[in-house]
C-alpha cells in the first residue's frame, strides 16, 4: 500500500466537515464495478473539493489541475480498496494530500528535512524581531491579501500553514505526512505565520502609501 492509500486517521474535525453526500454510496459501489457513469458522478461530486485542496497546497492553477487529474486517476485505480471505514470525502482528501506531497518530493522538494532544505534564503526568512504594534493586523485581515500572501510563501512554509491552519491537521499528523518531527512542524508553522505577518504589513504599507499618493 502506498502513502496515498493510507487510511484516514481518526480526526473529528475532518469527519465533521465531511457528511455523506446523497447518492454517493451507490456511485462508489457502481464505480467499483467499472460503471463509467458512476465514476463521472464521483468526479462531479468531488472535483471542486479536490481541486481547491490542490490549489491551496500548490498555489498554482496549472499544477493544481494536473494534480486533480492525478488524484482522480489514482482514485479510479484504488477505489476498490475503499472500505468505508471513514467518510469517502475524508479518504479522498487524504489521498489527495498524500499525492500532492509525493508530487512535491518527486519535484525535488525534500520534505523530510524541512528546516535544511526548504528554508528560504536569509533575505526571505521571516525577521525575528517583534516589530511595532500594527493596528491593521490586530483587528482584521483582508482575505484576498492573506490568500495572496499565502500564495507567495515558500513551498515548505505554505504546506505546513495550509495543512495546519487551513485544513486543520494536527502537528503530529503533519509530522507523519511530511516525515519530520512535530517540533519541526511547529517551527515551520510559526515561521510561516511570521512571514505572512511581514507580507501583510508590507502590503498595508503599500496600500497606505498609495492612499497618501492619491
Amino acid at each position: 500500500m502506498t502513502q496515498a492509500e493510507a487510511p484516514a486517521k481518526s480526526n473529528p474535525g475532518l469527519f465533521k466537515r465531511n457528511p455523506p453526500i446523497a447518492g454517493e454510496a451507490e456511485a462508489i459501489e457502481a464505480a467499483k464495478n467499472g460503471d463509467p457513469e458512476a465514476f463521472s458522478k464521483l468526479y462531479t461530486l468531488h472535483k471542486r473539493r479536490v481541486y481547491t485542496l490542490c490549489l491551496r497546497m500548490l498555489g498554482n492553477v496549472s499544477e493544481a489541475e494536473d494534480m486533480t487529474q492525478e488524484a482522480f486517476l489514482h482514485l479510479f485505480r484504488k477505489l476498490g480498496s475503499f472500505r468505508g471505514e471513514s467518510a469517502f470525502s475524508t479518504w479522498l482528501h487524504r489521498l489527495t494530500v498524500n499525492l500532492v506531497l509525493m508530487h512535491l518530493r518527486k519535484k525535488g522538494l525534500n520534505l523530510v528535512s524541512l528546516e535544511e532544505t526548504i528554508n528560504p534564503s536569509e533575505e526571505d526568512a521571516p525577521k525575528r524581531d517583534f516589530g511595532s504594534r500594527d493596528p491593521v493586523l490586530a483587528s482584521s485581515v483582508d482575505r484576498v491579501a492573506l490568500e495572496r500572501a499565502v500564495g507567495s510563501l515558500p513551498p515548505g512554509y505554505r504546506m505546513v500553514f495550509v495543512l495546519h491552519d487551513v485544513e486543520g491537521f494536527e502537528h503530529n499528523e503533519i509530522a507523519t505526512m511530511l516525515n519530520c518531527s512535530t517540533g519541526n512542524s511547529k517551527s515551520q508553522l510559526h515561521k510561516a505565520r511570521l512571514r505572512l505577518r511581514e507580507l501583510l504589513r508590507e502590503n498595508s504599507d503599500i496600500n497606505l502609501t498609495e492612499g497618501e499618493a492619491a
Partner: protein, 107 residues
Amino acid sequence: MALPEDINFDTLRPEEFERYLPDLFANGNGKVSQDPRLSKFLGEHPDCAALVSDLETIAAHARSLFKVSVDPSDKVWQNIQSKLQEGNTLEDEDEDLLPRSKQAELT
C-alpha cells in the same frame, strides 16, 4: 524546541518568549493571548503582545481562507477520460514516489 516544564513566567524575557512561542501556540490551542501565565508578561511587553495578536489574527483568518472554491477547467475531466480510455492510470509510477522506508511505515 520543546517547552520546558520549569519556565518562570514572572522572569520571562522577550527572546525566551520568542523561542517558546511555537510551542506556546501549539500547546494552548492557538490562544496564547488568553494564557493566564503570560498575562503579566504580555502586559509589560506590548510588542510581544502585538506579535501574539497578529499571529492569532492570521491563524483565525486562515480558517476562512479559500472558502470560495472553484471548479477545475473542463480539460481536466477530458484528460481523465482520455487516460482511462488509454488504460493509463499511472499504475507503474506512483509506487516509487516515496522512499521505501516511508511506504513501509504507512502500510
